[in-house]
């Protein structure tokens, strides 16, 4: 791989890792279900960007675009279902507090 594209990959990778850290921290620390889902979204976005970058530096833009489109579709469905579950939980508990979600344990 040429040094230039490797350099650009590293630049993007640097920031993508930072975004990963943001999302993971959000997932681990938050106490609100919706915010947890938002954290998940951030992670997925970082991954999509990573795939596009990889496509760019390897010259396989068409392939990665196709993949990313599929990923986005899947991501939307997952998000909708997660949102639906959150909504249902809210109906039951009247809160989105994650601490309430530990009835199954042991």
């Amino acid at each position: 791989m040429s040094g230039e594209s490797w350099q650009s990959f590293l630049t993007f990778g640097f920031f993508i890792v930072l975004t990963f850290v943001c999302g993971a921290y959000c997932l681990l620390v938050t106490r609100n279900m919706i915010r947890a889902i938002i954290g998940l979204e951030l992670l997925i976005k970082a991954v999509t960007l990573l795939i596009i970058v990889v496509g760019h530096v390897t010259g396989r833009v068409a392939l990665t675009q196709a993949l990313v489109i599929t990923i986005i579709v899947i991501e939307v469905v997952v998000t909708v279902i997660a949102g639906g579950i959150a909504l249902r939980v809210f109906r039951h508990n009247n809160s989105l507090y994650i601490g309430d979600l530990n009835k199954l344990k042991g």
Binding site: Y25, G59, V68, I69, V77
Partner: protein, 170 residues
Amino acid sequence: MTIPHISIDTILLFTMVAAALWTVMGRSLLKATIGLAITSAIISILMFRLNSPLAAVFELSVCTGLITVVFVSTISLTKPLTHKEIVELSKERHKRFGYLPIIIIVTAIVLTLIKIRNNVAVAPGADITADVRQVMWNIRHLDMFGQILIIIAGALGVVILFEERKRDEW
């Protein structure tokens, strides 16, 4: 890693991380959603710059548009917090999320120290200049079937999860 060069890309990326940070640390859920939308928009600009216009359009329309709508509607369906609660929560939140910027800075420093050798050799591919639609329809049409299935599953999920039952269960 070496310290990245300053360019439009770098600025955009920096804004992206800032937006992500704001998303996570934002006080209310609505602000977080807006932050997510901004992050998403920046990512789609980056995709344009990386010669991936179709993915960028998709990202812009679906993620910035559709998902934001989903979140906003979910949030509006759940009970809004009172002002007092928000104030109390935000105090606590500062404690919990205050560490995030520090962690990010530390990660950044660690990353600049790591050296990754460039010994990834990519075999020259045939589809470098191929068109996206061609790739999607000719090579990756299995993915299209997958998408159809996932959308059906999602539709069923929406029907099941959002449907109100007559008798209220515990």
